[in-house]
């Protein structure tokens, strides 16, 4: 019985939260990796672009709520996401046309692109804060829990409860669907394959008649979808605050590089690597050991490897280690 309790404890506090957080990071990381692989620059505006998409989603959620439209037990935001995506793509294409296109035609070095993306970051941050303000916004409605901790305890008669939030299930479910669709698109359709070819060798791709304009357009469309959904899911699960989104850029970068930048599958897994290591290393295992060890060997301290304050530092340290020992990432990067 104690053993089952210990498993439930780990599920509740480590496995499910890490899986959710990892999915959110994974979507962002694929976004970074696609931009890096095809447009060839590190996009420092990642977090702020995600917050722009989320802001649009929130605005539409409020609009639907004022109309009285809802999805019942599901959050209204799910209905608003497609509209958010449309605005996000529109904004990205606008920026691409006025900012990035010029440097692409000039064949500027990646560093210059990165600098320009910092300008975009400043502008996007201003736009988001001017429209919706810097405060904390919650836009979740509908049923909050699928399984409540107390109900679970009563049902199974265990000491430990398992709480399952609906946002967690939605996040994981949406991520799986979206990522499978994306991989199907990249590996099976003609456009996806031409994107791969373009990422692999630009000149050769151009020679074989691939239209670069179309590739760039499709990339921004996919990026817009990923950014909005990733951002909205994060906002639903936690809350929306522009500054948090800016900070989330850092673990997202870490995930993309750990997985091998330019490699979407690596980025997908990288998200989970970062999320799991953050949570595993900062969790206090005292209760877990109390269940599995005999009473005489119970630990007196919290058995925490690192205090939770260092959550971000964990992912960054992993990244630094990966960068030094395997700069191409766990899965060889730079090929889509």
């Amino acid at each position: 019985m104690d053993f089952v309790n210990a498993i439930i404890l780990l599920l509740n506090y480590i496995f499910i939260p890490a899986l959710t957080y990892g999915s959110q990071l994974a979507l962002g990381a694929i976004f970074v990796t696609l931009i890096y692989g095809i447009l060839r620059f590190a996009n420092f505006a990642t977090g702020d672009m995600m917050s722009f998409g989320t802001m649009m989603t929130i605005l539409f959620t409020w609009y639907f709520q004022s109309l009285g439209v809802s999805l019942g037990v599901l959050p209204t935001a799910l209905l608003a996401i497609p509209f958010g995506i449309i605005f996000m793509i529109f904004y990205m294409l606008l920026i691409d046309k006025f900012v990035f296109k010029y440097y692409r035609n000039q064949k500027s070095p990646p560093v210059q692109f990165a600098m320009v993306s910092i300008g975009v970051m400043f502008v996007t941050q201003a736009v988001v804060r001017i429209i919706i303000g810097p405060g904390d916004r919650r836009f979740f409605d509908g049923e909050k829990f699928i399984i409540k901790a107390r109900e679970f305890k009563e049902m199974t008669g265990l000491n430990e409860g398992l709480a399952l939030k609906s946002t967690q299930v939605i996040t994981i479910f949406v991520t799986i669907v979206l990522v499978s669709l994306l991989f199907w698109f990249l590996n099976r359709t003609k456009t996806g394959k031409s994107m791969k070819a373009y990422s692999d060798n630009e000149d050769l791709a151009l020679l074989s008649g691939i239209d670069p304009k179309k590739i760039v357009l499709v990339t921004w469309v996919i990026a817009g979808i990923l950014a909005t959904i990733g951002g909205a899911l994060y906002g639903l699960d936690k809350s929306f605050k522009p500054f948090t989104y800016f900070n989330n850029m850092l673990p997202i970068f870490a995930a993309a590089i750990v997985g091998g930048i330019g490699n979407p599958f690596g980025a997908f897994l990288g998200g989970y690597v970062i999320a799991f290591s953050e949570i595993l290393l900062t969790y206090a295992y005292k209760k877990f050991f109390m269940y599995i060890l005999p009473e005489s060997m119970e630990p007196s301290s919290l058995v925490q490897l690192l205090s939770t304050d260092y959550k971000f530092a964990v992912s960054f340290s992993i990244l630094v280690i990966v960068l030094i020992y395997r700069p191409s990432g766990i899965f060889k990067g730079k090929v889509l």
């Binding site: 620059f41 400043f122 303000g133 970068f253 530092a313 700069p327």
Partner: protein, 443 residues
């Protein structure tokens, strides 16, 4: 630029003008540091925030009086942990030198590091808890050395340079955009450590009331020579007032205002000295054979390597130099504020804004760096009043109660981000070398 600051002095107040001027000087120092790395050598460093914070930490550690009780409570444990770290580094060095490169060696080093960290963590914990328990509302940390705060400017440079040495050894081999990300993340780690190691830095509880190199306003207001000075400066204004009591009251008011201006002027003088010394040194370096070699490395690394220049070593050197200058600026900043708030170090303000300064001012040109620091900081501060004025101007016909107008006026502080972003984008597009482009004259 000076005219603009003078205008602020005349229209807003001399106090505001001088505090903008002082921060402009500090920004100029930071920008010079970043400019050395980016403009001379083409190294991208997004970790400026980390070095600034280390400089600030130096100011705290140098100037605060040691907390005797805390040393008694946990000093021994902390010193033991320091020894353990030294021993760990020595052991790793020994392993690296003694054995051939192999998988087993890598795993061994990893095992040494992990077990070392665990050992240090568990051995230092009682000491840390004891230190943090010593009068937590006032101290709760080890304190510093109780020296004059000016020394911290040098020590800040040493701290920042030391960190740059470690970061450079680890990360400088990376490609430019990876290096940018790595340095950004390392600076975040540094901030996390400063924020949460309360025994060293008091963390988010902040350190306030640091010693000053300049006199205190309260003391000045009671000093005779200062009152006479103020009287002399304002004799015309004062002689107009007939009533003696009124004149005395006016004089008192002027003395209070004058004292804070005087203190700010003291800081300006100190900062100006630093800026001028750094400017002379960097200009000398730029035109020296060493500067030429740096440019050669920047423009064609392989050719420079083929000519027998040690690229790796020079990159490391310039990375340390630039970061040390940023460290000086960090210590200057804390000296001016008189307080150390780890929570206020954010990448927007301390990394990306400095980069905007470098790019706008003109990379590779020291005067450009200073100009960038001045222009960008001035706009950053004055963006809110300017945009408020513009909003009021364009919406003059709309009533005050209009929701859109009220919303816009409420969000005035965020227009500075817009201004910075647009400024950066326009400069990058139409004047990619900055306002004052790099000029190389071979004499």
């Amino acid at each position: 630029m000076m005219v603009l600051i003078l205008m602020v002095g005349i229209f807003q107040s001399w106090n505001i003008a001088l505090s903008i001027f002082n921060l402009c000087l500090i920004s100029a120092v930071m920008t010079m540091g970043a400019n050395i790395q980016w403009g001379y050598a083409g190294l991208i460093n997004f970790g400026i925030m980390g070095y600034t914070a280390l400089g600030g930490l130096a100011a705290v550690l140098i100037s605060v009086d040691p907390v005797q009780e805390a040393w008694r409570a946990g000093g021994f444990d902390i010193l033991m942990s320091l020894w353990l770290i030294v021993v760990m580094v020595l052991v790793i060095r020994f392993v690296l030198k003694r054995f051939e490169k192999s998988k087993i060696r890598t795993y061994c080093i990893a095992a040494i590091i992990i077990s070392g960290i665990l050992l240090i963590r568990f051995s230092a914990e009682p000491g840390i808890e004891a230190i943090e328990a010593v009068d937590p509302a006032k101290t709760g940390f080890l304190g510093g050395f109780g020296l004059p705060i000016i020394f911290s400017w040098i020590v800040g440079a040493l701290f920042a340079g030391g960190l740059a040495f470690i970061v450079g050894k680890v990360a400088l081999g990376l490609r430019a955009d990876y290096l940018a990300i790595a340095t950004l993340l390392i600076s975040e780690i540094v901030i996390a450590i400063i924020k949460h190691e309360d025994w060293l830095t008091r963390g988010v509880k902040n350190v306030i009331g640091l010693k000053r190199p300049a006199p205190y306003e309260v003391d000045l207001q009671t000093t005779d020579w200062f009152i006479k000075l103020v009287e002399k400066f304002n004799s015309g204004k004062l002689s107009v007032i007939e009533n003696l009591a009124d004149r005395q009251a006016a004089l008192n008011q002027l003395v209070i205002e004058g004292s804070s201006v005087f203190v700010k002027l003291c800081y300006s003088g100190l900062f100006l000295v630093v800026v001028i010394i750094l400017l002379i040194l960097t200009q000398k370096a730029l035109y020296s054979p060493w500067g030429r070699m740096m440019r050669a490395i920047r423009d064609n690394e392989e050719a420079a390597n083929a000519m027998g220049k040690n690229v790796v070593k020079q990159h490391l050197l310039i990375f340390i130099l630039g970061s040390a200058i940023v460290g000086i600026a960090g210590a200057m900043l804390v000296t001016q504020d008189g307080l150390f708030t780890p929570g206020s170090y954010r990448p927007m303000r301390y990394t990306f804004l400095i980069w905007v300064m470098v790019i706008v001012g003109g990379s590779g040109n020291n005067f450009g760096a200073i100009l960038g620091g001045f222009v960008v900081w001035f706009l950053w501060i004055e963006a809110a009043p300017i945009s408020l004025f513009l909003i009021n101007f364009f919406t003059a016909g709309i009533p005050e109660t209009n929701a859109l107008k009220a919303h816009l006026i409420e969000s005035v502080p965020y227009f500075r981000f817009l201004l910075m972003g647009l400024g950066l984008l326009f400069i990058m597009r139409y004047r990619p070398k900055g306002i004052l482009p790099e000029k190389i004259e071979i004499k």
